[in-house]
Amino acid sequence: MSAVPASIPTAALPSADEGVAPRPVPPVQTRSAAGAHAPRLLSVRSWGAVLLALVVVAIGVPLLNLAVPAGSAFHASDYAVQLVAKIMCYAICALAMDLIWGYTGILSLGHGVFFALGGYSMGMYLMRQIGRDGQYRMDMPDFMVFLNWKTFPWHWAVSDSFIAQMALVVLAPGLLAFVFGYFAFRSRIKGVYFSIITQAMTYAAMLLFFRNETGFGGNNGFTDFKRILGIPIATPSMRMTLFVITGCTLIGFFVLARWLVSSKFGRVLQAIRDAESRVMFTGYDPIRYKLAIWVISAVMCGVAGALYVPQIGIINPGEMSPAASIEIAIWAAVGGRGTLIGPIIGAFFVNGAKSWFTQAFPEFWLYFLGALFIAVTIFLPRGIIGLLRRNKKESAS
């Protein structure tokens, strides 16, 4: 692996800050990173893997889906492509969650709200793109016609501009995260208190978006999209384009996250996770660091939401339910937090299991998910990645 150990001592995972009974914090093992040479972003092998992933996503899957005939064993079905696209969006969320939880030690139970805000920003644009093809053949989106609205509410002012809405995809979650994070971190809310408050935030947002008066389509949300940038959205080539964009975004975010956590900034974040008061007493201002990573994480989730909506074709307030947000945390935990590849693996594992279970044994899915929550926290504090590493170590010794 790289020169920077992505792993961290298990005992240091839970910050002593949160515990009722503070425990001595084991020394933070960062010496290898503080060595003479500047840390490389990725090892040669990892760069190779990243490149391979890029090729598979950008060339392999499109070829298998579009060029290989449907009967062939190598054909990637539309269903599979859509499923993978959806999970890649989730993987971005898990990666974002890992940055804030795995590397900074702040568990957010409200990341669903950022995902949904990004999704809604995209959805507003897509709703405008429907034009007069809705049920009512009117310029306004159907739900507004239904509510008998004559003009667009203020927050729909720029909704017919793609560029403006894409800016909103970043700005809406970013701004909410900034304001919320500023006040929360400033008054030093941390640990479970912060988690609970974020859960309340997403819960409140869900209630707000359920209202028709809010102007986001009430509990039906947005759906029935027709086109994006004037191009019909349901064609195979459009679907493939979105798939490739999603895949490249995921890989890009992975490299970005890698750069973040191996920079000095990232090292301070990990120090905050392990002993926030020490960081503070050493002269750093933890609030700035926490706020910065919090906003970055929120924006990543927003982008994931914006990629999710045109591919899945629906966004509704259910994405903001506390349960949806907590699931993001479990993806990161299952894969292994404190590593960057872990959350991506976790998202694929849990969501793959979900789509299999809900088809094969729908009534057992919640048992499985519940058991997964319990098993991972008790037996696998470092997730699947931790399990793989341990096996590797054992076979080596």
Partner: protein, 523 residues
């Protein structure tokens, strides 16, 4: 047309002792709705048993007619409405169809007949039904009933309905009288009635009288409304208190954020359901007292599950609150799904015992339901019990000791692991009690706990950890605040405002209303 029917009505009124005739029966059952209503009003003042039976049958959709006869159906056989003799039902007989207008007229007619029932309770019910839709056509009947009524309370009620009917009269003097006498009433129905009349009224004098009456009623109603808001607030607060008490113990003692707390409440509610069913099956006579057994049963069931959870899962996660949070969330998913597998995904019915249904009418627009009053009392009892347990017993002493300084308590010989189990079981049991209480006012279903979990965490966050007083103030404060805002802005915005308020409050006092004093740099 109208005049003709009025004339008919007058004729019928003039000959009071006449029994139901076949012609009247026909007019009641067939023809246009308007003429049937006229016939109904004509029959009413002299209605005999046969007429009442016919009207009742029509209200029950049990009347058929052909070109020549009207037939009342009973148990699949036909009877003549006038003579009561059994008759054959012809093939061609059609059902009498009642539209909504006809239906409400029939109901009103039945109610006005009941006004003359010898039973005072039936009369009181009847006048309530009639108060809903006053129309001048029933005025003669009401006048008669008013004159005959001996019970003062019912006479008053009839007087109000009479005034309401007179309010629509063409005679100005009558309208003025009516407005004045309605001003003495304090019911919301009267208020809407006056408001409606205000819109239609053109005479300034009458308008002024109605305005005065409205002012008087509103003054009286306002108090009822204010007290009502405070009562529902306290009621919600007492439920939140029950929910949060358990959380305060588990979180206060062990720092465990128990996301499955709501599901432990659900278990308590389902335990109540099971006890109810057992009583119904094996001792129906004692059904009214099932709640008395359901209380310990729900405590026991939830405490048992809590103890098992503590021993099997939570024990391994002490000192790692974030992980506990995720693990208990997983537990909550499993428990929910388990209940779905056992009892089905649908809500199950839990019936109030007789002594908990109904309520005491404190004011005309303020009824305090017995079950809500009982929950407030129950919450007070549980609070007293828990504080006594914590303050006065040996277990309580140990719990306090472990909470304050776990290591020191262990050094003094306290078996902290066992205390953890007991305390967690206690907190869970109190959640079960909350579930038992909730089953008496709301739906019992697999997602019962989900609705309260965010609110109850807010109570704990707001109240601060380690002291029951904080929990009490936070629960009642949040309950009343929620209901006050609800009356002002509606339920959803109220909830959002409360959440925003809490986030702002935490800014000022990050450790809640009552924080434990300490020297930690993290405080």
């Amino acid at each position: 047309m109208r005049w003709f029917f009025l004339l008919m009505a007058a004729l019928v009124l003039a000959a009071p002792a006449r029994a139901l005739t076949p012609a009247q029966a026909r007019a009641l059952a067939t023809g246009e709705v308007e003429s049937r209503i006229a016939a109904l009003n004509a029959v009413l003042p002299t209605a005999d048993d046969a007429a009442v039976a016919l009207i009742q049958a029509m209200a029950d959709d049990a009347v058929k007619f052909t070109d020549s006869v009207v037939i009342v159906m009973k148990d699949g056989k036909g009877f003549d409405p006038v003579s009561g003799a059994a008759v054959a039902v012809p093939e061609a007989a059609e059902d009498v169809i009642n539209n909504n207008e006809m239906r409400s007229e029939l109901d009103a007619a039945l109610a006005s007949i009941k006004l003359f029932s010898p039973d005072a309770k039936v009369r009181a019910e009847a006048i309530k039904t009639l108060a809903g839709e006053p129309s001048e056509s029933k005025l003669p009947l009401i006048e008669k009933a008013y004159a005959a009524e001996a019970v003062p309370a019912i006479k008053d009620a009839i007087g109000h309905v009479r005034a309401a009917m007179l309010l629509g009269s063409a005679d100005k003097a009558k309208r003025l009288d009516a407005a004045k006498s309605l001003g003495d009433s304090g019911t919301p129905a009267t208020k809407t009635l006056l408001l409606e009349r205000m819109k239609a009224e053109t005479d300034p004098e009458v308008r002024a009288a109605i305005g005065v009456a409205l002012g008087a009623i509103e003054g009286r109603l306002a108090w009822g409304e204010r007290l009502g808001v405070i009562f529902t607030g306290i009621s919600l607060g007492s439920i939140l208190l029950l929910v949060a008490l358990g959380l305060a113990i588990t979180y206060g003692l062990m720092g465990v954020i128990n996301m499955a707390h709501g599901e432990l409440m659900m278990i308590g509610a389902y335990a109540t359901y099971v006890i109810q069913n057992l009583f119904r099956a094996y001792w129906p006579g004692g059904f009214d007292y099932y709640v008395l057994l359901a209380v310990p049963a729900s405590f026991g069931a939830a405490a048992l599950v809590g103890a098992v959870l503590e021993r099997s899962v939570i024990r391994w996660l002490y000192g790692r609150p974030l992980e506990t949070l995720l693990a208990t969330w997983g537990i909550s998913l499993v428990l929910q799904q388990a209940v779905r597998s056992i009892f089905g995904a649908q809500n199950v019915p839990v019936e109030n015992p007789a002594w908990l249904s109904g309520g005491v009418a404190a004011m005309s627009n303020l009824t305090l339901p017995y079950n809500r009053l009982a929950i407030i009392a129950f919450a007070v009892l549980v609070l007293a019990g828990v504080s006594a347990l914590i303050a006065r017993t040996r277990l309580g002493l140990f719990v306090r000791g472990v909470t304050q300084n776990r290591k020191m308590a262990a050094c003094m010989g306290v078996n902290t692991a066992r205390i953890d189990t007991y305390a967690f079981a206690l907190g869970s049991g109190i959640a079960g009690l909350a579930g038992c209480a909730l089953s008496q006012v709301g739906n019992v279903g697999p997602d019962l706990g989900q609705g309260y979990i965010v609110d109850s965490f807010m109570v704990v966050v707001l109240g601060g950890v380690g002291q029951l007083a904080g929990t009490v103030y936070a629960a009642l404060g949040l309950g009343v605040l929620n209901k006050l805002l609800e009356g002002w802005q509606g339920a959803v915005l109220a909830k959002i405002m409360v959440l925003v308020f809490i986030v702002i409050f935490i800014q000022k006092r990050p450790q809640g209303i009552f924080a434990m004093k300490g020297r930690s740099a993290e405080a």
